[in-house]
């Protein structure tokens, strides 16, 4: 993975797309700088649970953690995209909310909270969005098993 530096963060390249590896403590500060770089729209915010795939390719300086917050920004002026990947540990599964910079992340952060159990500090309304309010667990975590319906094959020999 070829690397570069932008705003004191490691800038990588994934299939021709710019990926910025932002440390958790500088997440909001970096977003603020990127807004000044004309990345005015937050297109997407999601997360990945790397519980069963810890050995993923990362730049040397980045220590892998269980969760990753993935933010896709868009600059309409330059017609470029920038992806932010922030490592979030299992022990402290929380990150600052980007709501005050990008109000459009409100529902996306709620979705990540609902699906992964990562809390967003100072989010205006952090509740479950897709699952019922009293649901147990966070479905997109890798240790959350998928439900199965047993299938009986009638007429088979065994």
């Amino acid at each position: 993975m070829t690397t570069d530096v932008l705003h004191d963060c490691v800038l990588g390249d994934s299939h021709g797309q710019s990926v910025l590896f932002v440390p958790k403590d500088r997440y909001i500060a970096t977003l603020r700088k990127l807004i000044d770089d004309s990345y005015t729209m937050c297109v997407d915010l999601t997360a990945v649970d790397f519980l069963t795939h810890p050995g993923r390719t990362l730049p040397e300086a980045i220590a892998p953690e269980r969760f990753e917050i993935v933010v896709n920004l868009l600059s309409m002026r330059d017609r470029t995209r920038m992806r932010l990947r922030t490592q979030v540990s299992e022990a402290d599964a929380s990150i600052d909310s980007a709501f005050d910079l990008y109000p459009g992340t409100e529902a996306m952060e709620r979705e990540v909270f609902d699906m992964f159990g990562i809390t967003f500090n100072s989010h205006p309304d952090l509740t479950r969005i897709l699952m019922p309010e009293d649901w147990d667990g966070h479905p997109l975590r890798k240790d959350y098993s998928q439900g199965r319906i047993p299938v009986q094959f009638k007429g088979s020999a065994s």
Binding site: R56, N72, A107, M108, P124, T127, R128
Partner: protein, 447 residues
Amino acid sequence: MSDLLSTVVSAGTFEGNQELRSRSELTAKEVMREVGAVLRMSEADVALLAEVESDPGEDQTMIINMGPQHPSTHGVLRLMLELKGETVLRCKPIIGYLHTGMEKTGESLTFMQGGTNVTRMDYASPLNNELVFSMATEKLLGIDGDIPERAVWMRMLLSEMNRMSSHLLFMASNGMDIGAVSMMLYGWREREEVLRFFQKVTGLRMNHNFIRPGGVAADLPAGWRDDVLEILEMLGPRLEEYDTLMTGQPIWRERLQGVGVITRDEAIALGATGPILRSTGLAWDLRRDMPYLHYDEVEFDVIVGSYGDAFDRYAIRLAEIRESMRIVRQVLDKMPGGDFRIQNKKVTPPPRARIDESMEALIHHFKIFTEGFKVPEGEVYVAIESPRGEIGCYIASDGSPTPYRMHVRAPSFVNVQALPHMMRGGLVADAVAVISSVDPVLGEVDR
């Protein structure tokens, strides 16, 4: 009873109430925070705004539920509205009634089977979903530059036809919501003609799983060109009828003009894309601004509005049907011959005829459909312009035949966030027009 309830709640992970909270539980700062963030105002300005807006007492306002089963909510969208008389003070969309865990399901389906899953998300434009998923997979495989020309142009043809059918559906549902019930019949009728073409090409009216990693599933059937021309010839005069029926009609204009206004900065801040963003006057269309497929080789106009209201969004969609027809005409002229899928043994199953004569072909066919093909480790985000805005697909792969994480950035999911902003201070009768003009597809909102 309350004991039972509290045990249930404490046993689970009760994370707080999803519903709109009553005013007595909120501080003025909390109420105004969202407004302030969207309008990009400083805290001092927001505080000023909060003072100006008279804070009505609890007994003067009423919280009502609109939905989930309301004919104008296009599915199972539930809105909680706080009303003062006829005026909407606050609104909160509550979603999740159609959530079926499609992103989780996507993690257990191979890249070959994934199309059947994503196509069911935005069921009004299934081919665009398949397209973005296939493009993301191809980028991970590193074959995105090797897709045969015919497959690329076929994808464009299908994508644009799908845009037409989706916008025709909007014409129908928008008409029905506003009260032009005859429009509902006309819109569905024209859409059915396009779906009939899809049925001929893909075998299904909806949920096609036709665009697959590596190309498309089958070649175009004999006589496809005449079918397309027939649709184009039929549609032109019909769109003029729509103009007569709605665009110039005073009642229609009264119902939509100045309703659900959003400005350019607000739309960008909220992440709204597609016709909502374009209605504010910003010409942003991924087909033109970040071209994919061969959109840089066809001529079309990006339609923009000037007021950001519901009427602009209606007019943009109507005009976009015409632009799609223009693109389809050019695709007809440029459609090349050749393969309809990549001749790469890794992702393409052998042709049916080979299976009868070659043992290796049979094994190969079996392995591709049972095990799938392995996709190199990595992560990628690909976005295209769907009829509702930017639809994106983020895939993280761990080198196995199934995606490690498959996330779809659904335009409707993000656009629905603009509803509270558009409705604030409007009339409850206009709420229906506003929901309709956002054109959310709940299958995609909830996934």
